[in-house]
Amino acid sequence: MIKVEHMTKMYGAYPAVIDVSLHIKKGEVVGFLGPNGAGKTTTMRVMTGYTPPSEGNVSIAGYDVISHSLDARRHIGYLPETVPLYLDMEVSDYLRYMGQMRGMNKAWINERLPAVIDVVKLGDYRNSFIQKLSKGYRQRVGIAQAILHEPDILILDEPTIGIDPAQVVETRALIKELGGEHTLILSSHILPEISMICRRVLVIHDGRLVADDEPANLSERLRRTERIEISVRGADSVSDIISSLRDLSMIVDARRDPSVAANRGSVEGVIPLLIDARPDQEATENVARTIVEKGWGLTNMHMIPMSLEEIFLELTTDESLGE
């Protein structure tokens, strides 16, 4: 549905997006993840035909965004981050106008308008001036104009930024619903949002595509350390355990973790610990053997999957973790 091949976008001498290639299939729900200024918006603007790529090719539903721009644009519903609306228009007038601009005829607009207003729950405000609406409701008007013409592809740039928390929850639920019907591309710098809605994450950092995977796989693949939680009984002191664990080559760090104790409830004589280990070196087996050989009791041991947040931080900070 969407093909981006070796796309680079320069603003003057400044590269906003560098050599990005990606394919998005029909029906996929994809999240662009990255901090502000990473190149998410620029990538979306190139896909929507708003700005041409400096190098490379981008096609939408088989139409090149430059040479067959109008055909490509017909397939897209787009909501920019700024939620552009004509403040002096009524909600339904605005939606009619946007429908016309998207090439809808009167009958089609009349048929779609009530349904869309229903989907975004704007029923009570259909004749309100947009000026009078709160940020959250304006966002709904923005989403309504993006889906009105039943586009194959829906591109939403930071759709939950700047709206109040109660409305964020509703908006996310709405977007998740839309993901069932459209090829959906969503950008965000909020990780839980992406992992909640999207089945594929594209991490963009400094204009480059640095990861492209399912949220779960991403977590698996990009892990540089494994984190293990254990509870040990019968040791004389915490430092005894820690020093014997640190003797193992694959162990990066071991420490007593008060949060573990708080979560599990402290048991007399049982010491909770967190261990960071290098991956793929049988850390769990070695830790278990060490504890048992010392004659202590290993009452609990499990791997803690790293949250997407941590992966994201790891992807986007220059210092690597564990050094």
């Binding site: 700005t51 228009m89 946007m98 601009m101 090439g103």
Partner: protein
């Protein structure tokens, strides 16, 4: 062939949809009423001043001199919102990612402002009624005067629209538009002080108004450049070509300015 017809009819409806929306916005905002009121007040003053002497001629020359002079400021006031506001609100991004061509957006907006101008001018037909009621005016210069004002007005609106495309600030659009039109007015002034080809070229660009408009006792010289013949009842093909050409050039410039936003 069929595809071409379908595409043309789509273009036509895009242009009309933009124009209709802008017209509706004109009538729901105070700006259009303020501009229309100012236009009527100013032209009314010039009309009265030109016909209230004992031996004054029954013509619209005084009114048209005032009208075209103040269009230098009022036309950019009508167009300043049209593209600047789209850029300020960010709605231009939605228009330019819709299956609509830049030229359709520009023509739609131009037509809306042009229809506003026609409405404003049609309100001044009241002066013509007064002339016929109290005098025996020559009809030729009235027809050509209105034709000239419509052509001249279209040119000033296209300049104003181009100014509106370069900025997201309406005030900047107004100043740049009025400034450009003032420049096209004073070239005649500069040409008088030059000679040879330079003077001829500059005179060729003289839009039609003159600062002598402000000398209310001397309307005969208040209309120069390409408007002079229209005010005398003469239709000159070159003048029509100039106004249509200038309008076309500035509309094209507006389209190019909009397209250039994509590359920035």
């Amino acid at each position: 062939m069929q595809a071409m017809v379908a595409s043309l009819s789509q273009s036509g409806s895009n242009i009309w949809n933009v124009a209709y929306k802008e017209l509706k916005t004109y009538f729901s905002s105070p700006m259009a009423y303020i501009v229309a009121a100012a236009f009527l007040a100013i032209t009314g003053f010039f009309f009265v001043a030109s016909v209230s002497d004992a031996f004054s001629e029954a013509s619209i020359r005084g009114f048209s001199a005032g009208a075209i002079f103040f269009m230098i400021f009022l036309s950019p006031a009508l167009t300043m919102r049209l593209l600047a506001e789209e850029q300020k609100l960010g709605t231009l991004e939605l228009l330019l990612t819709s299956p609509v061509r830049e030229v359709e957006i520009v023509l739609g907006k131009f037509i809306a402002s042009f229809l506003m101008l026609v409405i404003m001018l049609s309100l001044t037909l009241y002066y013509v009624l007064v002339l016929f009621r109290f005098g025996v005016p020559d009809t030729g210069p009235i027809y050509t005067g209105y034709l000239g004002m419509i052509l001249y007005g279209a040119t000033t609106l296209s300049v104003g629209l181009a100014a509106s495309a370069i900025t997201s600030n309406q005030l900047v659009a107004l100043v740049v538009g009025a400034g450009t039109l003032t420049g096209l007015t004073v070239v005649g002034f500069i040409a008088e002080r030059l000679s040879g080809t330079a003077a001829e070229v500059l005179n060729g660009f003289q839009l039609g108004s003159s600062f002598q408009t402000l000398d209310v006792s001397n309307f005969a010289v208040a209309q120069g450049g390409h408007f002079a013949d229209f005010s005398r009842g003469i239709i000159n093909f070159g003048d029509i070509l100039y106004y249509l050409g200038m309008t076309g050039v500035f509309l094209l410039l507006t389209v190019v300015l909009l397209q250039s936003r994509r590359w920035r």
